[in-house]
Symmetry: C2
Subunit: 338 residues, 2 copies
DNA sequence: ATTAGACATGTAAACCTTTACATCGTGGCT
DNA sequence: AGCCACGATGTAAAGGTTTACATGTCTAAT
């Protein structure tokens, strides 16, 4: 009826429960003959370890929680790969919590961590308030947290990120270098910390090239396909259209590309486009998208290693990794109009 | 140094641990004044429930594990949304395990479930062997499993799916209805159960229209962007090119679209394209992709409800949900060549 | 022959909750 | 006045491991 326990195995094998436990975790210190008998009893009973009891006793769960704002965002998958690699090398199981940007769900995962179901958490982007209300006092035995992507200026938790401001600056500089003078920026959602940083990079690049900042060239956006479409309408409505667009992420750029194509506006002939993130589909856009690549696998791995060392009680500081401007076919030198 | 326990709270509030527990779970049966004192003690100590102890005592974890073969595949996100909704309504936390199609990782999640860390599991697509070696004997207290998408003919576990064979048939029939006679199919990976079913649908449609099955019209594929590109090379190399292509998923179709575009082959003028899944980006392909939509949210919700009822000890049978052929711009009537 | 030590196994405590049952006090009823 | 019932709280057992320590056996060195 109910799960077999270690007692059942011990009884069947004619040994004590301590020996069973040892067979399972340190097989080499138990006599070969005994071990064989025990393992056979394990098979016969269909025994499985009770993780709750184990966690309770060991005061750890051998699990790492990765909290993602939106699984649908393809940006995250490669990061997860990097995390998994390091996690499983350290004997931890990686579990993903998808908040769907909902406060309720987010709270559920905060509780999950606080209740000791995970030995630590990795937060991907867009960290909402709930996580920062967690006291970091490890005198309370609260599991450590590492943030991937940016954290606010108060920078409570340890973080792994690229320099978003510099990357945005590089992207816009590339456009300026190609002769563009009227460059628009489609921003991310205002709530996102990255939005401000990428916007700053955009503005700084314009400033340094003595180009004017114009409010009508800063389009709102929310990182979704639809924002990209809206950006096209916005673009089209302008009396003096920008010749280049810098999107705060690839998905919006893709939304723009398809809408523009349908409306007969050609990229890069009529307008150059730069994205941000280098998501999987960026290479198969039409045209292939020039964008900023973040070293996603490395970011994940790096964050996981950081988390592990904090769990191990070592001091650890935030890490900044290099980005890369990937030149593809969506940008071209400005053709001076006659 | 270490986590505060319920004892610490009880001592501080001057009550027994039973009262503390009651305050946390059934606040209304404890006197208002006491409750207040206890809750304040909880705040002061920074107490958090120890999930391991709770699970151990209650013999359940209030967690559902969702196993995904590849988080990067955007196909899954909407399914997860449907699952989450039902799960949280039932008071369960949804956790995602990403196997990355690796046997090792998959085993890790099997163990996770078997160890009682989750009260049940939902498998998304591509179920590998490991899961089916799990004895379903619930006399051993093994948590139940529900599969989303197809299961093999032996159909051990309960499943939620669409009729892939019929859907493929409908897709190809649409092409035939538009006058196409030479229709190719780009299959999924041979290991995937869906591959065979979609292939059968394709073949049956051809058969019913008295069109010959030709080996050179059945391209291999693996559901990835690159297979789509390879399909283009394959397409281009044929002496008598197909006039329509039915891809076993959208991602491959997208790979084809961008390659074809770059090579000057126009869709749907030169060749019609149908995908499968209706992933997020299908609407913003160039041209927008005709495809089969699976009711993803409904599939997730349905599977979760099924799992819940099995957990509750009720009998439950597999469910089949309706699909939909979404007509967009990548297919057109065949223009008879002069 | 005696004993130190290595090796294999057993004993029992600790990990932290939940919950059935017991206790105690109070107010309402007869 | 005495009793019942009920509401609020306490007591203690149970849930299944891991692991420090104890025990016992055997080998090898003196």
């Amino acid at each position: 009826m109910s799960r077999p326990t270690i007692d059942d195995v011990a009884r069947l094998a004619g040994v004590s429960i301590a020996t069973v436990s040892r067979c399972l975790h340190m097989p080499d210190i138990v006599a070969a003959k005994t071990r064989e008998r025990v393992l056979s009893a394990v098979r016969q009973t269909g025994y499985n370890l009770n993780a709750a009891a184990q966690s309770l006793r060991q005061r750890r769960s051998n699990t790492v929680l990765v909290v993602v704002p939106d699984i649908g965002n393809t940006f995250f998958s490669e990061i997860l790969g990097g995390i998994e690699q390091e996690a499983s090398a350290a004997g931890l199981t990686m579990l993903i919590g998808d908040t769907g940007r909902s406060k309720t769900r987010e709270d559920a995962y905060v509780r999950y961590l606080l209740n000791g179901r995970a030995d630590g958490a990795l937060l991907l982007a867009d960290p909402q308030a709930a996580w920062f209300e967690i006291p970091t006092r490890n005198d309370l035995g609260i599991p450590p947290i590492v943030v991937i992507s940016e954290v606010g200026p108060d920078s409570g938790p340890v973080a792994v990120s690229i320099d978003n401001e510099a990357a945005a600056h590089a992207a816009v500089n590339h456009l300026i270098g190609q002769g563009h003078r009227r460059i628009a920026h489609i921003a991310g959602p205002p709530s996102n910390i990255l939005t401000a940083q990428r916007l700053h990079g955009y503005r700084r690049a314009l400033n340094e090239a003595d180009l004017p900042l114009q409010a009508e060239l800063e389009f709102p956006g929310d990182f979704g396909l639809l924002s990209g479409r809206a950006a096209f309408d916005n673009f089209k409505a302008q009396t003096e259209r920008p010749t280049a667009l810098f999107f705060a992420n690839d998905e919006m750029a893709m939304g723009f590309l398809s809408t523009a194509y349908a409306a007969g506006v050609r990229v890069p002939r009529d307008v150059s486009v730069v994205g941000f993130d280098d998501i999987h589909f960026a290479q198969s856009c039409i045209p292939a998208l020039t964008t900023i690549r973040q070293p996603r696998a490395a970011m994940g791995a790096s964050a996981m290693r950081l988390l592990l060392s904090i769990i191990a009680g070592e001091a650890a500081a935030s890490v900044r990794l290099p980005y890369e401007l990937v030149l593809r076919d969506s940008t071209a030198a400005l053709i001076p109009t006659a």
